[in-house]
């Protein structure tokens, strides 16, 4: 049809003349042209088809290339389970606490086909799980926890059962490599990794800080010293059959606590329900009447106020003093006249009372308050004791002068000793390493001179023949200190024996407090009493237990603390060189 129409067009209607056309050639050309047009159309169709295919593929390739691989994300989620809590390290970089991956085992009852067989398998592998309870749970619950906090071995045993219904859930648990060593300091975390006690609770927010997750929290404690003090205290608990014991070692200049031990202790890696009071932190939570250790404060104030000097003689000291309903006396018979120094060295209650009367109630009260002995101390633990409130009525001045009728925590007493012996600068005990100490703007509680005088007196408590702490005279460390034997205010038949020592006393660097709850006599022990081995001693005063233990501790930790002092240099190094 098309061809016919085309032929007709050769002669136009209005054509008046004609010309010769090579009909055949033109027709062929036209035909070719038409044919090629058809080819071109097909080519365009094909081209556009392939082009759109390529375009689709290109777009899909591009979109795939800009997408992040799901595979990678899956692996990351499985392998890179982020830490939830920071590590805790001691001052030497020893690990104290770390989070590790662990597992809970859950059971899906609907996936257990042979329930009796399952119970039997569990009973064989985990005898501690009650079969009756397990049966009840399998019948009543769709999903329940079979065992929490699995060990690797327990997980493998569960795995080997080949039960489809057992599901292991990944979670993070806190591990304490030192076990019992820091039980009263570090505290514990719950299953959701929130701190519930001790350092874990106090620094909870910091320990869970994602931005610092790879930076460990550094503490002032020293694991080696902590272990040595704990070992000696543990031995002391056996030797003196005490109910509990505590030890604290602190830097007198910075307030850094190097060791804080409270016994009995418990393993932090095991969940236990502990309700016995003896498991409380004796050093920070325990509030005690510490007895004669308070005499140092009375004497220090008398010297600071220039009311008395160390050599001032107090005359006419009576055997006992009647004060209100109380009859105050000394444990031993002392001469009628004693110097201020002797009163401290021999630990005379009446002598301290007479010094306090010269000072006056207002000044002594203010001094005790300024030393921070009566308020709740600001320390990096949640377990902090509150000293008992009391009113300064009649007789309070007299009893407080020798440490009776006044309570405080051992931590506060040790901090007060540090402040008095370091030159008179107030310090704040701390467990956090690297705190910025402002040595220049420290508050003074007493003068340097008074501090020196007190240090010399405390040294004499250890070295003098009539001193109460001869068992702590360890060569090379110039130990000084004050004993305290007091009645337990909750049970007057029991004693609380304390010894607060400082060393080296010519320029104190450390304060060590040892407290024993109701120690008994230890006749089996051989004491090195004033240079002579002595045994069969059944006495229960602090000089025969707390002091003895302190001496043993200082002997052990001294080499680690590397104290360089004149006593050693003059008697040891010079002797060696000659």
């Amino acid at each position: 049809m098309k061809k016919k129409n085309n032929n007709k067009n050769f002669i136009h209607e209005n054509q008046k003349s004609f010309f010769f056309v090579d009909f055949l050639e033109t027709t062929q050309k036209n035909r070719k042209l038409n044919k090629s047009k058809i080819h071109e159309d097909r080519l365009y169709v094909l081209f556009s088809f392939f082009f759109s295919l390529i375009l689709i593929f290109s777009i899909s390739i591009f979109s795939i290339s800009i997408q992040e691989s799901n595979f990678q994300g899956y692996k990351k989620a499985n392998y890179n389970y982020p830490l939830l809590r920071r590590d805790i390290l001691d001052r030497n970089g020893e690990l104290m606490a770390r989070n590790i991956n662990s597992y809970h085992a859950a059971v899906r009852s609907d996936l257990i086909k042979n329930k009796e067989n399952f119970i039997l398998k569990i009973k064989l592998n985990f005898p501690e799980i009650s079969s009756a309870e397990l049966k009840k749970k399998l019948e009543n619950k769709k999903r329940f926890y079979l065992k929490r906090r699995l060990t690797e071995d327990e997980r493998n045993r569960l795995w080997s059962l080949g039960e489809k219904g057992i599901i292991t859930e990944l979670f993070q648990r806190r591990i304490y490599p030192h076990g019992k060593l820091y039980s009263h300091v570090l505290g514990q975390t719950d299953d959701d990794n929130y701190g519930i006690s001790g350092i874990e609770n106090y620094f909870d927010r910091e320990l869970r800080n994602n931005q610092k997750i790879k930076e460990p929290l550094l503490l002032t404690l020293d694991s080696n010293i902590q272990f040595l003090i704990k070992t000696e205290l543990k031995k002391a608990m056996e030797d003196f059959q005490t109910n509990s014991a505590g030890g604290l070692l602190m830097d007198v200049n910075t307030g850094e606590v190097l060791s804080l031990v409270s016994l009995p202790d418990y393993n932090l890696n095991i969940r236990e329900n502990i309700s016995d009071v003896k498991y409380m932190n004796q050093i920070t939570k325990g509030v005690f009447e510490l007895g004669s250790v308070f005499k140092t404060f009375t004497v220090a104030l008398a010297l600071e106020e220039n009311i008395l000097s160390p050599d001032t003689i107090i005359n006419n000291i009576p055997d006992n003093v009647k004060c209100s309903n109380h009859n105050i006396s000394d444990t031993y018979d002392f001469p009628e006249s004693l110097s201020v120094e002797d009163i401290l060295v021999r630990s005379s209650n009446i002598g301290s009372l007479m010094i306090a009367r010269q000072i006056g109630k207002t000044k002594l009260k203010k001094f005790i308050e300024n030393l921070g002995l009566l308020k709740v101390i600001n320390f990096e633990l949640e377990e902090i004791g509150r000293p008992h409130n009391f009113t300064w009525r009649k007789c309070k001045l007299e009893t407080v002068s020798f440490g009776h009728g006044i309570t405080t925590t051992p931590l506060q007493a040790a901090a007060a000793y540090a402040s008095i012996t370091n030159g008179g600068y107030m310090i704040k005990p701390t467990l956090q390493l690297g705190k910025n100490f402002n040595f220049e703007n420290r508050d003074s509680i007493i003068s340097n001179k008074t501090s020196d005088q007190i240090n010399k007196m405390l040294r004499k408590v250890v070295t003098e023949k009539r001193g109460t702490a001869s068992n702590a005279d360890i060569f090379g460390y110039e130990v000084g200190g004050k004993t305290g034997t007091a009645k337990n205010y909750t049970d007057s038949k029991k004693n609380i024996n304390t010894f607060i020592s400082i060393f080296p006393s010519n320029k104190p660097k450390y304060v060590l407090l040892v407290i024993l709850d109701n120690p008994k006599g230890a006749p089996h022990l051989i004491y090195n009493y004033k240079g002579k081995p002595t045994n069969n001693i059944s006495r229960t005063e602090a000089g025969w237990n707390s002091v003895y233990v302190s001496g043993k501790i200082i002997e052990n930790i001294g080499p680690i603390l590397a104290i360089n002092n004149n006593e050693v240099h003059n008697t040891h190094v010079v002797k060696k060189n000659n």
């Binding site: 071109e40 591009f62 590790i100 490599p177 080499p559 050693v568």
Partner: protein
């Protein structure tokens, strides 16, 4: 107008070469990604092993474990050093050692 002009051919060639290049690059980058992923996994496993090993080391070298192992496995009784055994200066130590050596030499001569 020629059916296959130069421009078209060049465009098609460029497009095809880009297309091939994209697929090659994509393939290579996928291989690199896989390698990175493998290394990441390896690093993670090594880090995990390191953490576990250091935890184990910290436990085994803790004072309590060391002292119990020493008590159990060694006959020697370890005591704390006395001050007479500590040298505060290396010169003190060498002079002391020299004295000991000279004494022992003299004894041998006798």
């Amino acid at each position: 107008m020629p059916l296959y002009n130069k421009k078209k051919i060049i465009i098609i060639l460029i497009y095809t070469s880009f297309f091939i290049a994209i697929s090659i690059i994509k393939n290579e980058s996928r291989l690199v990604e896989t390698k990175i992923q493998n290394y990441e996994s390896k690093i993670f496993i090594l880090e995990k092993n390191l953490l576990e090993a250091s935890l184990e080391f910290q436990y085994l070298s803790s004072p309590a474990v060391l002292s119990s192992k020493i008590e159990k496995n060694l006959d020697k009784k370890y005591n704390s050093l006395n001050f007479s055994q500590i040298y505060l200066d290396i010169e003190d130590f060498t002079s002391e050692q020299n004295k000991i050596t000279s004494v022992s030499i003299n004894e041998e001569k006798k």
